[in-house]
Amino acid sequence: MRRIIHIVGLLALPIIVSGCSDLGVKPWERDVLAQQEMNLISDPLESSLDDHIYFSKEASSGGKGFGGGGCGCN
């Protein structure tokens, strides 16, 4: 578990360093984030197809949403 925290910390580090001073934006600064491509899941169907494949081929599922399922493939 400690290893995980290290990895996550390392991955987040550049963003924490650059963004910590002023987290967030004013309502009029949302032009970039409002783009459809900037949604965290910008292609829900593509994500659901991927999740379905990985759910049926690996022992893990979920994380970004509910754990998949609804299928006898695993």
Partner: protein
């Protein structure tokens, strides 16, 4: 009207479960019917967003291949109030590893229904080629604000295969903070699944009978249930004008029948002698046992995702997931996508790396000296030590009317590893890898 089309198509496809050729045609027809039905809706109301995609999945060496059309339609009442319907169908054919080890002689296996048998040649990975299935899944979701600071969502889904049904309900509640720069979300999902395997529910860790006239078959129940409860707690944070980050903690419990009724294990002879490391004999034939898993599982995961847009408009999307459960499985997943954006086109290379450690009860095979004392055992490679890699490239084109076409080709590679066995078994390939190709074509309008 579109709803009625959906029903007709769903019923028609379900009835054709066993006829795969006709099914492929039906699925194509179904997708077309859905698209045409729904586009009429688009013209009429002009406030529907339709998202459609088709997946082709194919494994090397004639193993599983799948086709999956999926379409979703979202009615936008206002910026935050929406109703979504989604229908997906998939059809699978091909051969799937049954769990037994390769052997120095031809092996014969009873088919899951007990009505026939299939063989694996000497030195070859035993694959059950009776494997085929069709699934239809329907889901719907409603999302709306409660007030300036709160929003909620509710949804339900239903999916049906000839040997599996799932019924689920979900809900979520979100709280916006800090001028909507921070969003806290709590989601809950409940599902009730029924497994009704071909040939009935086999008894775990009991010898696979020769045919369905055996008493093991006649005492079987037709179906078993499992219940799932998932909860997700998430924090989404706007970092700056071009960066957004999410952190989730998810808890998932399942209870009931979690075994794969079609998977078996080989029992290997560990008595010193000529057959050391060969298939153990029982009742004059090779001994195979049905697998058996615990009747509950608790999975937990943490998930982190960041999306960042650079000065040149290109977008980096990186995520990491750590999952662990009380079966002893630990996994790490890293997924990275980088989108090069041109005027109305984009090109997106994708990389995914996944590694998992085996479940406590995973055994590639059981030993003749101690198989009878096992409480649980599975040789399903998906519960073993496993590394997988996905390399993909996506291309998209946005038309002037804001519709979008995209296509993606991904290559998926699996590598299993583990205990190499002893005696005769060491000459067999116990952990064959797998390669698969996935092609997705999508259109949003």
């Amino acid at each position: 009207m579109a709803g009625k089309d959906l029903e007709v198509v769903a019923v028609a496809v379900t009835k054709k479960t066993h006829k795969n050729r006709e099914l492929a045609q039906l699925l194509t027809a179904a997708s077309c019917a859905l698209i045409s039905g729904l586009s009429q809706g688009v013209n009429a109301a002009d406030s529907w967003d339709v998202d459609s995609a088709f997946l082709l999945y194919s494994e090397s060496d004639g193993r599983v291949s799948a086709a999956e059309p999926v379409i979703s339609a979202t009615k936008n009442f206002d910026e935050e109030t929406k109703l979504t319907f989604k229908i997906a169908a998939d059809t699978l054919t091909g051969a799937s590893p049954n769990g037994a080890t390769a052997s120095d002689h031809v092996q014969t296996f009873t088919s899951p229904s007990g009505k026939g048998s299939y063989n694996a040649a000497a030195g070859e990975q035993p694959l059950d080629d009776t494997f085929k299935d069709t699934r239809i899944a329907l889901s719907t979701n409603w999302a709306a604000p409660i007030n300036r600071d709160w929003a909620y969502g509710v949804g339900g889904y239903l999916s049906k295969e000839h040997d599996y049904q799932s019924l689920g309900l979900n809900g979520s509640l979100s709280r916006y903070l800090n001028q909507k720069n921070t969003t806290l979300t709590l989601g809950l999902n409940l599902s009730n699944d029924t497994v009704n395997p071909e040939g009935g529910v086999p008894t775990g860790l009991v010898q696979v009978p020769l045919s369905n006239s055996d008493s093991e078959f006649t005492q079987r129940s037709d179906s078993e249930n499992k219940n799932l409860v998932d909860a997700v707690f998430g924090v989404t944070q706007v970092i700056n004008r071009s960066t957004i980050m999410q952190f989730n903690y998810a808890l998932s419990t399942s209870s009931g029948y979690l075994t794969d009724p079609y998977k078996i294990l080989s029992v290997i002879d560990d008595n010193a002698g000529a057959n050391f490391g060969g298939n153990f004999q029982s009742g004059g034939r090779d001994l195979y046992l049905y697998e058996k898993r615990p009747d509950s599982r608790l999975k937990q995961s943490i998930y982190w995702q960041t999306k960042h847009q650079f000065e040149n408009d290109n977008i980096l999307d990186v995520s990491y997931r750590y999952m662990f459960d009380d079966w002893g499985v630990n996994s790490h997943t890293i997924d990275a996508k980088y989108r090069f954006r041109f005027d109305n086109q984009y090109l997106e290379p994708q990389l995914r790396w996944y590694t998992q450690s085996k479940a406590d009860f995973y055994h590639r095979y059981l030993n003749s000296s101690d198989y009878s004392s096992a409480d649980f055992a599975s040789a399903d490679y998906r519960l073993g030590d496993l590394d997988t890699y996905t390399l993909g490239l996506k291309y998209g084109y946005k038309f002037a009317d804001e519709t979008e076409f995209y296509t993606r080709l991904s290559l998926y590679h699996q590598e299993s590893s583990g205990d190499k066995g002893y005696g005769k078994l060491t000459t067999q390939e116990l952990y064959p890898g797998l390669d698969a190709a996935m092609l997705i074509v999508g259109y949003k309008f």
